[in-house]
């Protein structure tokens, strides 16, 4: 019964990608990172939906759009538990939790105000590291400084 009610909240798509289990407070950030705010195809967004596992969650459904895994894995930085679901003819053909890549290119800003990437037109490049508390921190290839999770801004 609950499955039916969910479908009513955010309707099914025929072909495309569903990103589920996004923390409700970062749904619009995920939209921006994946550039879904610029896309010309139908996008369905739900947020503050109840989820037994996650409390309040968000979900994004994009019609006729399939992501490269490198592209989608970027969102693991802010939504590490998000699930990627690929739909073809209303059927789930692929379902997987996003994975944090080893390196991140050109969409996070380096936190160091004196880093060359903040002055010249240079794509940022980071290696993904973890703190002792298992939080993500990004090591800038250029200035060699770390950008902590709390300091990340997205380009």
């Amino acid at each position: 019964m609950s499955e039916v009610r969910k479908e009513l909240k955010v309707s099914a798509i025929e072909n495309g990608t569903v990103i589920d289990h996004i923390p409700a407070n970062v749904v619009f950030q995920v939209m921006k990172i994946l550039k879904l705010d610029e896309i010309d195809r139908p996008v369905l967004v739900g947020t503050n939906l109840g989820s037994k596992k996650f409390g309040k969650k968000g979900i994004i459904k994009v019609n006729n759009k399939f992501f490269e895994s490198e592209e989608i894995n970027k969102i693991a930085l802010i939504a590490p538990k998000a699930t990627l679901i690929v739909i073809k003819d209303f059927e789930v053909v692929y379902k997987k939790q996003v994975e944090l890549p080893k390196s991140i290119k050109h969409f996070v800003k380096c936190v160091n105000p004196n880093c060359i990437t903040n002055y010249e037109n240079i794509d940022t490049k980071f290696e993904v590291h973890f703190t002792d508390e298992n939080e993500v921190k990004l090591h800038c290839r250029y200035c060699e400084k770390f950008t902590a999770q709390g300091n990340m801004t997205f380009i």
Binding site: N114, I116, R141, Y142
Partner: protein, 302 residues
Amino acid sequence: MKNRSLISIDDFSKAEWIKILDIAEDFEKNPKQRILEGQVVATLFFEPSTRTRLSFESAASYLGAKVIGFTDAASSSVKKGETLNDTILTVSNYSDIIVMRHPREGSARYASEVAPVPVINAGDGANQHPTQTLLDLYSIRKTQGTLDDLNITFVGDLKYGRTVHSLVIALCNFNATFHLVSPQELKLPSYIKRHIKERKLKYHQYTDLNEAIPSSDILYMTRVQKERFSDPIEYEKVKNAYILNNAMLEDAKEKMKVLHPLPRVNEINEDVDTNPKAYYFQQAQNGVYVRQALLTSILGVK
């Protein structure tokens, strides 16, 4: 090392550092060899650093290379708004190797990605200055006969000193024992101490310089700058505590040497200069040999 850039000290392995030091030793015996005749070394100083620039230019000139470049951004096309990318690509057409100093961190790494010729980082903001680290290692090895198992004392501003950070990390490869002397506000940051701890090396922290001197093989002095203190009263309290004078060296080991990256202001009293333990001017001279070793190794002559 042929055709490779040197941006961070980690770009070369420990074995490669040692090789550079060995080649530098040969140049010390015979610094004037015209083995880079016909080669062009570009020195691009986007911020002034007279000492480092002259050391590189001297190293290149003694080897017969031609030196081109600029001494600060104001006298170059950078002032007209040229991007770093364009400056580096243009200069690459005129030279076999680029030596650059730039105020922004990461600029040298970026230049090395853009340039078809190798790049030597002569300082990128507060980030890296690998040739300083190599000349420090050279000076330590030369005066102590080894780099292994030494007691190295760092004095002064251990928080912001780029030179100190790189040298501490490098010495972690040589089983050093560290003696860290600084005011509370300028202690060695934890992200540098982590390297010492990871290698399970010993370190001791002091606020009194006199306590650390007797056990030291090397006394590495740095300047305590007023602008580093959030509270000016704190600076007034400690400003004279980290000044070395001749009398303080009485209990020092026989072979102990005093190093300083220079320029010195008042942190080493001039009465130390004539003490045989004073080594900071020879240390600067060693920089020429180390830079000769780097230029010739990267250009494939050595």
